[in-house]
Symmetry: C2
């Protein structure tokens, strides 16, 4: 993680890491937040936990790490806007382009055609909104191991009555 | 698993289960072969291991179980033809249609437009072939929780020299 993030970011990342740690399948992945710059969230996980029969990263693990990175990205944006919403994955497309013989890193960022401003405005106005996230697993030597496009739905939780 | 399968099928399923158990991320999923009828392979895994923050099955776990079921299906067909090939996932599309609040079952079968006969003939003739697999996670009450379309590549291993 970068060291120059604001205290609010640090709190949000701590909540996110605690959230992952509290979900059995995410806890089993031994993942950590590697980087967050306000636009791009990167998660990392050790190859030893995710290695397949060919000595490279298992496709299901790559898809799972991208799913968690994309979910975390949407959740961080919802929280940063002061909103409380359930965030669901709706669908995903994943392309496995090259085998990865190194630790896994999944980076998630909003699709180029979308804006967080309009996502948050829709969520506030209608109580629900959709976001398309681009996820990438880079190769350490340059290039891309795995590429994904994942759509998420956020639905505001019913606010509890005051008092 | 059904009890009326042939001894050859039983051996193939034992090899497949040993293969899953030997892969750390698959072993962590606590999965088992639930059914195999020669056309459709079903894997199962307990919800408790795959539960998310909303009490239902984590999307990444559903994608992983579908990936392993589809991989197993292609591998069983390659082995049944007496061939030795590496089987890779090439890409996947997954649609999360309804939350699953029960143990996970992923069923894989060849796409309706394809035939194993032609896949095996291509693999024999060219040393490589592609198969499109349909994967489904059913809801216990009827209907579908998750639906996937996964493409696999099989590449014959270079035969070792005799003696």
């Amino acid at each position: 993680m970068t060291d120059d993030r604001s205290p609010a970011d640090a709190d949000a990342l701590r909540r996110l890491e605690a959230h992952y740690a509290g979900m059995p399948p995410a806890a089993a992945m031994d993942l950590r937040v590697r980087d967050w710059d306000g636009e791009r969230l990167a998660l990392a996980a050790p190859l030893s936990v995710h290695v397949n029969d060919k000595g490279c990263a298992f496709g299901g693990s790559l898809a799972s790490l991208m799913t968690l990175a994309a979910w975390g990205l949407v959740t961080l944006q919802v929280e940063a806007a002061g909103l409380d919403a359930d965030v669901f994955v709706a669908d995903s497309e994943v392309r496995y382009r090259a085998p990865l013989f190194a630790d896994l890193v999944a980076e998630a960022r909003l699709d180029d055609d979308a804006s967080w401003q309009s996502f948050i405005a829709t969520l506030r106005a209608r109580g629900r909104a959709r976001a398309t996230v681009q996820a990438t697993v880079p190769l350490p030597e340059g290039g891309v191991a795995t590429q994904g496009r994942l759509r998420y739905a956020a639905i505001l939780r019913t606010p509890s009555l005051p008092g």
